[in-house]
């Protein structure tokens, strides 16, 4: 099966770089999914959650506060400003990530409406891992 290369970069370094099956991004005009052989496009992302379907079919969620994405047929490059990956090997590290994520959400002051739905989504993503 064809794979899509996904790179997520923050000013403090790379947060994700691997081949994935698909990725869902919070575009400014609405959420959209990308599969391999997607048409080239670039667009802005708003505060929200990036859902990544990894090679082993598990789903990883990454919270972002702003971003820009460049999609071409084989590759997706996401530049974000602040990002927190909801992942961890044990309960306490997941809880720690969740804590960081909540802090990031609170920093995003201008999109109050979105906050509730975004925090609900990261909660459920954390639940899935536990």
């Amino acid at each position: 099966m064809d794979k899509l290369k996904l790179e997520i970069l923050t000013p403090n370094g790379e947060i994700f770089n691997d081949e994935v099956i698909s990725v869902t991004l919070p575009g400014e005009e609405g959420e959209f999914g990308v599969l391999p052989y997607h048409a080239s496009l670039s667009t802005l992302l708003e505060a929200g959650v990036i859902d990544i379907e990894k090679k082993d079919k598990s789903i990883e969620s990454i919270l972002i506060n702003w971003g820009v994405v460049q999609v071409d047929e084989t590759k997706v490059i996401v530049l974000v400003e602040g990002a927190v990956a909801i992942r961890g090997d044990n309960e306490s590290s997941i809880a720690g990530a969740l804590e960081d994520a909540k802090k990031l959400i609170n920093d995003i002051a201008d999109s109050k409406g979105a906050i509730a739905s975004v925090s609900a989504r990261i909660e459920s993503a954390a639940q899935r891992l536990l």
């Binding site: 970069l9 000013p11 370094g13 005009e29 496009l41 667009t43 820009v68 071409d72």
Partner: protein, 295 residues
């Protein structure tokens, strides 16, 4: 011949200084490793960001009649006032690190003054700010504690004034001057013009070849949003790079200081031994001549 006690005291004091400089070198080495790592990771982001901006700006430039009209990309012919932001360390003892930046700032100010352009100086870091205050050069505003601990939020806050003033037309240019990290032993002075963005690198051929679709939103809106982040990021990167360079420079300075101290101890030891021998000789002569006179 110097007093034995005095020399001994001096040896002790130099040895203590050597201990301090050695410790400072070790601290800088550890900090440098972290700072260098951060700068390296950050560079990846910088590369991609430049690529995205160049691609979008290039498309607008080439496809739109009259070219790009975002103020951030237009060369301003007769600038009236420009901003210079300099980044220096908060602490000294790092060789020529701060003074190099200060010299570059002075040179740039002179250059603009000769063209009758007003300069608004904004400082980051205690050393540079103190220097210009002491020399009675007017500083518009300054922050401390930011260059030793780069922080994205505070850096965004600082650059915001310049960015907004530029967009409002209050200033016509923005330079960032900082001493960046090149490798362990050399620093590289950067005098970067951040605004207006240099558009010479944008290539129409590439823009036409690109299959890129811009999502429904307006390209220019996207560019505007990107440029803000780009400028903020340029500022942040300058800070990260500067802190890495600062530690490298301090490490080197402290290494030299430690070596110098070692040489000094060596010389003092020789002097001490000579003095000791001289004292013994004098004593012997005194005894012998005493015995002689008794005969």
């Amino acid at each position: 011949m110097a007093n034995l006690k005095d020399i001994q005291r001096q040896i002790r004091s130099v040895t203590n200084t050597q201990k301090t400089t050695r410790a400072m070198k070790l601290v800088s080495t550890a900090k440098l490793r972290r700072a260098e790592e951060l700068a390296k990771r950050s560079r990846l982001y910088a590369g991609k960001m430049n690529q995205v901006i160049a691609e979008i700006a290039g498309r607008i430039q080439c496809n739109k009649i009259g070219g790009i009209d975002n103020r951030c990309f237009v060369e301003i012919e007769n600038p009236k006032m420009i901003d210079i932001i300099f980044v220096t360390a908060d602490k000294g003892l790092c060789g020529g690190f701060n003074i190099q930046t200060i010299k570059a700032v002075k040179k740039l100010i002179k250059e603009y003054k000769s063209k009758n352009v007003k300069v608004r100086l904004r400082g980051i870091g205690k050393k540079g700010t103190e220097f210009f205050k002491y020399n009675e050069v007017e500083i518009f505003d300054s922050v401390v504690d930011l260059s030793s601990k780069p922080d994205k939020d505070r850096s965004d806050e600082f650059i915001k004034t310049s960015l907004e003033d530029y967009k409002d037309g209050k200033i016509d240019g923005l330079h960032i001057i900082y001493n960046g990290y090149k490798n362990m032993i050399t620093q590289e002075l950067h005098v970067d013009r951040i605004l207006p963005v240099d558009t010479r690198g944008f290539n129409c051929e590439n823009a036409e070849k690109s299959l890129l679709e811009i999502e429904a939103q307006d390209e220019e809106y996207m560019l505007d949003s990107l440029i803000n982040r780009y400028i903020q990021y340029a500022m942040y990167y300058a800070l990260i790079d500067s802190v890495a360079a600062e530690h490298a420079s301090r490490m080197q300075a402290m290494d030299t200081a430690t070596n110098n101290a070692q040489d000094m101890v060596k010389n003092l030891n020789i002097e001490f031994n000579k003095a000791r021998q001289a004292a013994i000789t004098t004593e012997l002569i005194e005894i012998i001549s005493g015995v002689e006179s008794m005969k």
